[in-house]
């Protein structure tokens, strides 16, 4: 009698665990699909960003030595933008490329690669951390974004720098990649518009002619194929309103973790 009770208890327990577990897991999926639950989960990000406030905004990302360089710097996402205008520029070695800088600035500008290279530059060996989990180490040379911004005189109300790119993210050629960073990151000494990777001209798979380096944030913030920069007060009315292509897909705008 006692043994049978034990067995039926055990069987009940096993079933309860199995059914309960399956229910809980499918419950997680159902919750993920709701409007409200991901917002509850996103309160975690509010805490994370509050803690990030403890990290000095000027703190430098770790820099590495030549010995740490990845033999080949991995290209992720777009390797060749499917964009006729871009391909025409690439065919002439980006001789006709001009970076447009506008929005909330006193002196909008349009700069060729030669003009960009004449601005104060920085060279740094940093680690690129992809949100997927991998890391690669590369040597970047580029214009300090702070120097470029100083030249165009941002208006006091400017809060974010938008980067509009040449690579469409949809097969039909729509949804061009875009990103945004705040003014603290924009003026950070390691934030560059890179035009060289590992001592050679930036290759197309890595974002030629210009890609953003915003060290201390994950890879998707480092917009490739940058064509236009705009200073704005808010990005709520731009594309999906979340400040970047991947942000519009549900990734965090602040990609420090």
């Amino acid at each position: 009698m006692k043994l049978r009770t034990a067995i039926s208890r055990r069987r009940f327990l096993r079933r309860a665990l199995g059914v309960g577990g399956a229910f809980a897991l499918s419950g997680c999926d159902a919750l993920s699909q709701t409007q409200w639950f991901p917002k509850v989960l996103a309160t975690g990000e509010t805490l994370t960003r509050a803690v990030q406030g403890l990290v000095p905004r000027r703190a430098l990302a770790q820099e590495f030595s030549e010995a740490d360089l990845s033999p080949r710097f991995r290209s992720n996402g777009t390797a060749m933008p499917a964009n006729a205008q871009y391909l025409a520029l690439a065919a002439k070695g980006f001789a006709d490329y001009r970076l447009e800088v506008g929005g909330l600035v006193e002196k909008p500008a349009s700069l060729s690669l030669v003009e960009l290279r004449a601005l104060p530059s920085r060279t740094q060996i940093t680690r690129h951390d992809c949100v997927e989990g991998w890391s690669a180490i590369g040597k970047w040379k580029g214009v300090r974004l702070s120097a470029l911004l100083d030249a165009v005189h941002p208006k006091p109300e400017a809060r974010f720098v938008m980067f509009y790119c040449a690579d469409p993210m949809e097969a039909d050629g729509s949804s061009p990649y875009y990103e945004s960073i705040d003014m603290d990151d924009a003026f950070h000494p390691q934030t560059l518009l890179a035009y060289e990777l590992n001592d050679t001209t930036l290759p197309i798979p890595n974002g030629a002619p210009i890609r953003l380096r915003v060290e201390r944030q994950l890879g998707y913030k480092h917009a490739k194929y940058v064509m236009r920069i705009e200073l704005v007060q808010s990005f709520e009315r731009i594309a999906g309103g979340k400040g970047g292509y991947w942000e519009d897909q549900g990734y965090e705008w602040w990609a420090g973790i």
Binding site: R9, L13, A22, L25, S26, C28, D29, S32, P38, V40, L41, A42, T43, G44, E45, L47, T48, Q52, V55, A59, L60, A61, Q62, E63, F64, D68, S70, P71, R72, F73, R74, R127, D129, C130, V131, E132, G133, W134, S135, A136, I137, E215, R216, Q217, L218, W246, Q249, G250, Y251, E252, G256, I257
Partner: protein
């Protein structure tokens, strides 16, 4: 834990009343019980969402970067041939076919590439953005709960009284190992205390494994890396930290398996009740 045995309330007709001299003892205080179950939920979600995050790049490396010229030390992948999908798991250069478990799984009668079976991940499908939201939210639940537990355990002397091994504990290590191997569990007064192996297991998890896992999570954050540039190299670099994070997660799973096993073989319902109501039945020692 209360120290005085409470008399068995009348009207109880559980198995323990059948043994003369049995009584219910108040073993776990309410804060410990609440924090235990919050921890169960948080660690479960952290593991399952972590496996979804890992699926975005199912390879582990040792070093500062993933691309250093050396291959990954561990990798799960799907190899697709003309009419077949094979799940492959490689470790230190050795490949194992793991179709059905890792790399490829049967879904509605068709074998498709899948790093972990969908029932082992949150969300069930590969969805990195959502998995990260689950992971970071429950990481906060876990950390806040853990800090509350530590504060409570120090202030209430739960740590000093119940978890810290005393002189007698150290002398009983040998006999405790033998007892565990023989599935022999203490009765009477001895059942009120944690045994020395139990204390050491709990302390290792609380003070070594879980803090190490949190620290290795921080080590993966590029922003936290900049707090003190180079600190991650102390653990071998960011990719090593990611590997340690993964290994420690499975060590915690191993602890949970042993923990649940011990609970099952030493009186499952009694233990479960004590973690819900706080009351644990003490049976008198068998007559010599």
């Amino acid at each position: 834990m209360a120290t005085e045995p409470s008399p068995l309330p009348s009207g109880r007709s559980q198995a323990e009343t059948t043994r003369v001299g049995s009584y219910l003892y108040y073993r776990h205080t309410l804060p410990v019980r609440v924090m235990h179950w919050i921890n169960v939920i948080a660690l479960t979600v952290l593991l399952l969402s972590g496996l979804n995050i890992f699926s975005a790049h199912p390879a582990l490396y040792w070093g500062k970067s993933s691309y250093s010229g050396r291959p990954p030390i561990f990798q799960i992948m799907a190899r697709e041939t003309d009419d077949d999908v094979i799940g492959i798991t490689s470790m230190f250069g050795h490949e194992f076919v793991t179709t059905g478990v890792l790399g490829a799984a049967d879904e509605d009668g068709e074998v498709v590439p899948r790093i972990f079976p969908s029932w082992l991940t949150v969300p069930g499908d590969r969805w990195l953005a959502m998995a990260r939201r689950w992971h970071f939210f429950f990481a906060w639940v876990f950390v806040i709960n853990g800090i509350a537990y530590l504060a409570y355990s120090i202030v209430s002397r739960h740590l000093a009284r119940d978890l810290a091994p005393g002189a007698g504990d150290w002398r009983s290590v040998g006999s405790s190992i033998v007892d565990h191997l023989r599935f022999k569990h203490p009765t009477g007064e001895a059942a009120k205390r944690y045994n020395v192996l139990q204390k050491l297991a709990y302390l290792s998890v609380i003070f070594i494994l879980l803090p190490l896992m949190i620290l290795m999570g921080f080590a993966m954050s590029p922003t936290l890396n900049s707090l003190l540039p180079g600190w991650v190299d102390f653990f071998g670099g960011r990719q090593s930290a990611r590997t340690i994070h993964f290994i420690v997660a499975w060590l915690v799973v191993a602890f949970v398996l042993v923990h649940v096993f011990e609970v099952m073989v030493s009186g499952f319902w009694n233990h479960l009740r004590s973690m819900i109501t706080g009351r644990y039945a003490i049976h008198p020692e068998a007559p010599k």
